[in-house]
Amino acid sequence: MNKFINNRHIRWITLLVLLLLFVIASFLSIFLGKTSIPLSTVWDAFFHYDPSDTNQVIIRTSRLTRTLIAITIGASLSIAGALMQALTRNPLAAPDIFGVNAGALFFIVASATFFSVESLSGYMWIGFIGAGLAGAIVYLLGSMGEDGLSPVRIVLAGAAISALFISFTQGMLVLDEQRIQSVLFWLAGSVAGRELSLLLPVLPFILGAIIISLLVGKPLNILMSGDDVAKNLGLNTSLVKLVIGIIIVFLAGGSVAIAGSMGFIGLVVPHIVKGITGPNYQWILPISGIFGATLLLCADIAARLVIAPQEMPIGVMTALFGTPFFIYIARKGVKKSG
């Protein structure tokens, strides 16, 4: 390898390229959609806003909101996935595989059906609780064996817990037939038709969690060298793990509360990023965030255009692209452990 293009350069170049792609994707996400809006109107919407122009209103309300939401969700799910893969040392760990999405979903739908919770902040907190609970159950089940956490067992436990929560959720939805169509779209994961007011109460928590996650990169690197080594180096391992656990709950639970369940982003992104940056979490976490946001923006643009004028739930798009990747990792990862 040429000494000028060492790891450090690759990381910076990756970061810059990704930032560029991210800006382009954000722009396209605002620009493209089922109503075609000329560039000049997009410009005016931001700098000479005229509320009587429908197109400008579309840009400002619908497009801008969904772009912001896609960025937030993409970044948080990817960072949550990277943290989970690190914490469990499991290449298949991701929020959706851990049943975190299903748990949050179940609790939110249950609270809406049985306790008529309707406030958004209510949903948010309930989503956090559900996410935490489901994640904790799967983590415990996965670490029961003698050899500690085993990838396969976690995936199986996650699948069972998800199946349980999802079928209960479906049962509640059948009770409440009018809501099926709207909740169904939400179940599948979508960033469309959501108002900015939905994002705002959750945003401080997610942003806080993202910022803290950027700070845990260094301790996480130490933790990755093994619990004993980390302890000897003076790291409070249980504290670090606890903080990471809480971050994961906020990121994953918050995402579900905003956009419903969205698979595979949290699984795929950290893997690709790790391939580029190497195993340094100070780099993996931020780059995963940007990459995840960019990827979800692209998925959302595709979801809008594939069957225009109708829309595909973005969760469907991520699943279509993510499954082959999951299978690839499953084939590769399980071969090692038999």
Binding site: G171, V174, I180, Q181, L184, M312, V316
Partner: protein, 346 residues
């Protein structure tokens, strides 16, 4: 072999053994099934006295419409679906020699859903509903073939099969959602009800299509008793005893897929029945295959009929899909299995 009753054809080609003690248990199960069957007929949004149910069974009663047109087909459908899923799970668990194998976890149910949803969305207007089972069997077959191929690398290990199955399930879910969202809302809610696994609205026409399919397939699987018993000993021994292992593995997997596909075709994804029923059968019965086939079929149908009784009585006036309750029992059971096998696999 004093503990067994043996049924043998004249040329010794086909034989099956029933363990005597198990035969007693099987008869108890059968009686229990009859009891649950009658309870299912009498329970519901309007209660019908058991006496009237008996009257209807043997002649005419005061409730011909409710019993004959609404409940009877529904209960028989529950019985068939449960039996099909139970036997399908039993064969699958035997073939991949893994206690966690079940049609829904390995993605067969997902594939059947895709087949059925495609049929409902695109073909239902032009073709009769009689073809729905075929569509979901094809869906199940294609999906399981894909899963099997993808898990292949120098042979198929059970764990890889299950992992890939879970991945493919996510994909099939996505495809189903895709078609549901892009179709009209009337079709979407129809598909949705179907997906959750409901016996609601079962009618005689469907029962008449499903009945011969399920019974024939279960009967066929009984013919493989001897081979499966030998195969339990391991592939090498089976080969040594002259069994064409690969051929029969394929044949049995095909049976299992067809059973699950047919069962799912009308009732939707009634989850976890294929997982639990064979396990319970193995706990209470002697482990010879003929016992287990009959046992799994009966236990599977008990679970589905029981879940359906709960589903349509507890939350009156709503009629909840039975699949919700089978998952409610099945998922904790699955977790228990994971816990019990915690040393077993990685």
């Amino acid at each position: 072999m004093g503990d067994f009753y043996t049924i043998r054809s004249e040329n010794d080609k086909i034989s099956m053994q029933f363990h005597k003690k198990s035969l007693f248990i099987l008869i108890c199960l059968l009686l229990l099934t009859v009891v649950v069957f009658i309870i299912s007929l009498s329970a519901g949004s309007s209660y019908i006295p058991v006496g009237a149910v008996f009257q209807e069974l043997f002649s005419e009663s005061d409730y011909p419409f409710i019993l004959h047109e609404l409940r009877m087909p529904r209960v028989i459908m529950g019985f068939l679906v449960g039996a099909g899923l139970g036997v399908s799970g039993l064969i699958l668990q035997g073939m991949i020699r893994n206690p966690l194998g079940s049609p829904d976890i390995v993605g067969v149910t997902g594939g059947a859903s895709v087949g059925a949803v495609l049929f409902i969305v695109f073909l239902l207007g032009e073709m009769s509903v009689n073809w729905l089972p075929l569509a979901s069997i094809i869906g199940a077959a294609v999906t399981s073939a894909i899963i099997y191929l993808l898990s292949w690398s120098n042979g198929v290990t059970p764990m890889r099969l299950i992992l890939i199955g879970i991945g493919i399930s996510a994909l099939t879910n996505a495809i189903v959602t895709m078609f549901m969202v892009s179709s009209e809302s009337a079709i979407a809610s129809k598909v949705y009800l179907w997906l959750t696994g409901s016996l609601y609205g079962a009618n005689w026409q469907e029962v008449i299509i499903l009945l011969p399919i399920i019974l024939t397939l279960i009967f066929l699987s009984l013919f493989f008793t001897g081979i499966v018993n030998v195969k339990q000993l391991g592939d090498d021994i089976a080969i040594g005893m002259g069994v064409r292992v690969q051929f029969f593995r394929f044949l049995l997997l095909a049976l299992s897929v067809a059973l699950a596909g047919a069962a799912v075709s009308f009732a939707g994804g009634i989850a976890f029945v294929g997982l639990i029923a064979p396990h319970i059968a193995r706990i209470i019965l002697h482990k010879s295959f003929a016992n287990l086939v009959v046992g799994s079929a009966l236990i599977g149908s008990l679970i589905v009929m029981g879940a359906d009784i709960i589903a349509r009585t507890v939350f009156l006036p709503s009629d909840i899909p039975a699949g919700v309750f089978t998952a409610g029992i099945g998922a904790p059971f699955f977790i228990y299995l994971l816990y019990r096998n915690r040393k077993g696999f990685r």
